[in-house]
Amino acid sequence: MTSERTPGPQVGRSPPRREARAKLSGRAPYVHDLVLPGMLHGKLARSTRPHARIRRIDTAAARAIEGVHAVLTGDDIRQLIPQPYHGPAFHDQPILALDKVRYAGEPLALVLASDPHVAQTAARLIEAEYEELPAVYDEVEAMRSSAIVHDVLKPAGTFPDLKHLAGKRDTNVALDFHLRRGNAARAFEHAEHVFEHTFKTQQVLHLPLEPFVSVADPGERQLTLHTASQSPSFVRIEIARLLGWPENRVRVQVPFLGGGFGAKVYVKLEALVAAAALIVRRPVKVALTMEEQFYTLTKHAATLRIKSAVDAEGRISARECEVWWNGGAYADIGPRITQKSGFTAPGPYDIEHVSIDSYALYTNLPPAGALRGFGIPQLVWAYESHADMIARALSIDPLAFRRKNLLREGRAQATGTLMRDAALDTVLERLAQRMRWDEPFERGSGSVRRGRGIGIGFKASISPTTSVAIVSVSADGSCHLLCSTVDMGQGSDTAMAQIAAEVLGIAAEDITVVHPDTDVTPFDMATLGSRSTYHMGNAVKRAAEDARDRLFALAAELGLAPETTPIPEIFRRKYGMQAGNVVGQGSFVPSYIPTDHASGQSSDVTPFWMVGATGVEIEVDTETGQVKVTRLVNLADAGRTVNPAIVDTQLSGAAIMQLGFTLFEQIEFRSGQVANASLADYKIPGMHDLPPLIENEAVTAHEHGGPFGAKGVGESGTFAVSPAIANAIEDAVGVRVTALPITAEAVYRALRASRGEPLAQ
C-alpha cells in the first residue's frame, strides 16, 4: 500500500461513530419505521392464565370487527408448519400457543388489519376457555414440583450436552451442569472455617426503548424478513428449518437496533410474521408495545447457595455452589447460560477443591434469556457478596482477602483451563488505587453514613462460534465491509471499520460497512456475549488481509510494485479502465474442547476471558434506608481497546444499567401475572439516578488471540456492581442484604432487624 494511503494507526483511536449524523438527525433507519405497500399490522391476544389447557379460542367477535383481515391461532399456524416449535436449545416454543398455555401473557392469537388500531381493538375481543393446571413459579420449587411445564423435553439437537434430555418426562430441569475438581466434601471436613450463604436475584427486563418489531414480506421465490434482531443468520436458519426451505429462500435484513441487550437474540417475532405473511400472502408487521416486552423475555431470577472452606490464613480451600436458574416457560438460551456461567461459578479465585451444580428450570413465568452478562452478574452478586462476608467474619480487609485468593496468570481455573491474558490482578490493583483503598475514608455522621465496597468478576466467552466477513475493494480503491454483526448501539460498525482500515492502510472513515442482509453479508453466529470484537474482529482482519494479499498478488502479476502502486492504477492496468473488484474473505472459529459431563473439566473452555470490577462509595440514610451511590468506578480488561471512547461508554453504560438492576428494577409477579408491565410502574435509571462521580478504565492489556490484541467489553461493566453496593452498605451501616433489588425498604428492614426491632412483613 502506498504511503499517502497510510493515514496512521486506525486501531486505538476514537473516530466519532460513523452513524452519528444519521442518528442525530432522526434519519437512521429502524425496522420500527418500515411501511411496505399492502402491509397488514398484527396485534396479539395473550393468555390470561399462567398454566392451562386451551379448551377453545373464540375469535368470532374479533372477526366481526370491520377492517379485520384475518385472525390466526396456533391451529392455523400448524396447517402451514406441522411442527411450529422453535428455540435455540429446545424446540419448545410454539409460534402461537398450542394445546396449552405455559405463562400469563403467552401469545394466543394474532389479528391482522390494515389499521393497527382496528387490529388492537379486535384482539381485545378474543377470549379463550381454559382448563387450569397447577403452576410453579419458584426455581427451587420447580426442581421437585408436581406441576410440570413441558410434558416431554425436546432438545434442538444443536448442543451435544442436551442430548441426554431428549424425550425425558416429568421434569422441569432443562439442563444440569456439574463441575467437580479435587474433593470438596473431604476439604470441608477438615476446614478451619466454613461459610455458607444463599443469595437471590430477581427477574428484570432488558427494556430496549425500541420494543420488539419484525416485518415479513412474502415474495415470489423468497420470504424477506426485516427484523430488529441481534442474530440475522440464526433467524434465517431457524425460519428455513420451520418452513422446510433451503436457507437461500429466506432473507433477513437488519438495519439499526434501538437497543438489544440480549433480548433480540434467536427467534422472537420472526416466525410469527413469517407464518402470518405466508398465510395471508401480504406483508405483515408486528410491533410490540412496551407492555408486551414484559411478556416476551426477561432476565433469569436465580437462587444461589455458596459454601466455602477457609483456612486459618484466609485462603479458600474448597467451594461448593448450587445455582437454580428460573428460565420461565420456554428455555430460550437458558441452558447455555446455566452451563457457561457454571464454568466460573466459584469466582476468580484459586481454589483447589470445587463442586458446582447448576440447574436450568422451567417455570410458569415469561421466558428468561441472556441479558448483558449471560448469567455472570447473578453469580458475581453471590460470590463477591460471599467474599466480603468471609473477609469480615475473619477480620481480613476485603481487598487483602481477594489478593490472597485471586487466580493468577497461568493457573488452572475450576474447569481445568489455564488462565491466559486475564488481567485480574491488574484490574484489582488499579481499582484499589482509584478507590484509594489504603487511605482513611470519611464515614459520615448522624443519619447519613458512608461506606465503600468493591467486587471483581470474570467470564468465559461463548465458544465455539463462527464469524465470516468479506472485504470488497472497488477499482478506485474504496472498500466495502460486509459483516452480519448488528450495530445495536455498541459501535461495532465503527470498530469493525477501524480493524479493516488498520490492515488496509486507509482511514476507517473511508470504509462503507454493509448492514446485515443474509443475501449479501456472510454468516455470523450472533451479536451477543461480547463476542463480536474478538470473533468478527478476527474474521474482518483476515478478510482485509486476504483482500490486501490479493491486491498485492495482482500488482505483482502485472509487474507493478505491490507496496507502492496506487490501488486505482492496479485496477486500470488489469481491466483497462475503472472496473472490477478484489474480494477478500475471512472466517474465524476458535478452538474449544467440550467439558466432560460428569466433571465439567476441559483444557479449553474459552478463547478469552473477560474481567470486570467495580468500586463504589455510597451514602445510606439510616432513617429511610435510602442508598445513594456517590462514586462509581468501573474497571475492565478489554485487551487493547479498538476505540477507547466507545469502550468508555460501554463500561459506564453497562454499569448504570446494572445499577438499576441492583437498586430498584424488578418485575413483580402476583400468581404468575406481571403486576408492573409499564414504564410507569417499572422504573429504569434516569439522569437523577446517575452517581455524581463516574470513572471508567480499561487497563493496559493485550489479548493474544484477539484482533490487534482486542477483546469484548460490552458486558464487563455489569459484573460487579451489585455486590460492590451490598458490600458498601455493610461497610456503612453494618447490615447485609442478600436479595436483589436492594430497595430502601430492604435496607430499612435490615436496619430495623439489626436493632432488634424488626418490621412486620
Partner: protein, 160 residues
C-alpha cells in the same frame, strides 16, 4: 372507532402543511405517515421522551398528543435542518462526545437540550440533569450527554 377525518393545517419544520387526520391519531403516527421517523413511540405513556416534538416552541410527548391538536401550530422535529452542514451545535456536540449509543432516544435528548440552552445558555450540571430527567436512555449514555450539553453551551457562546 370513529374514522371521521379532519383537515388540519400547520407549519412543520418551517413548511406549511395540510393533513387529513383521524380523531384517534397521535402526533407520532401523523409524522410517521409524513415520512418523519425521528419521533418514535416507545413507552406510550409520555415517560421516556423518545417521541418528543416541539409545538409552538414547547416540548411535548408526541405519543400523548393528538394530531388534530396541531391545527394552526408550528411544529419542530429532529429533522429540522440547521446551518450549512445541517446540524446545530447541540447535534455537533453530541457527535463529538459520542453522546448516544443505539440512537432511539437521541432525537428527544437533542430537542430537550436545545430547549434548555435557549432558556439557559450556561446551565450547571445539576440544571442539565434536571432538565433532561424526563428523557430516558437505556444504553445509559448519560455522562456523555451531560458533557455534550456543556460543550454545546460553550460552542453557542463562542458563536455569539
Amino acid at each position: 372507532m370513529s374514522t371521521a377525518q379532519r383537515i388540519i393545517r400547520f407549519t412543520l419544520n418551517g413548511e406549511a402543511i395540510a393533513a387529513s387526520v383521524a380523531p384517534h391519531e397521535n402526533v407520532v403516527e401523523l409524522l410517521q405517515r409524513l415520512g418523519l421517523h425521528g419521533a418514535r413511540e416507545s413507552c406510550g405513556q409520555g415517560l421516556c421522551g423518545c417521541c418528543t416534538v416541539r409545538v409552538d416552541g414547547l416540548a411535548v410527548s408526541g405519543c400523548l398528543y393528538f394530531a388534530v391538536q396541531l391545527d394552526a401550530t408550528c411544529v419542530d422535529t429532529i429533522e429540522q435542518p440547521f446551518g450549512e452542514d445541517g446540524l446545530d451545535e447541540v447535534q455537533q456536540a453530541f457527535a463529538q462526545c459520542g453522546a448516544f449509543q443505539c440512537g432511539f432516544c437521541t432525537p428527544g435528548f437533542v430537542l430537550m437540550s436545545r430547549e434548555l440552552l435557549a432558556a439557559n445558555p450556561e446551565p450547571s450540571e445539576d440544571e442539565i440533569r434536571h432538565y433532561l430527567s424526563g428523557n430516558l436512555c437505556r444504553c445509559a449514555a448519560y455522562p456523555e450527554i451531560i458533557r455534550a450539553v456543556q460543550l454545546a453551551a460553550r460552542m453557542r457562546r463562542a458563536r455569539s
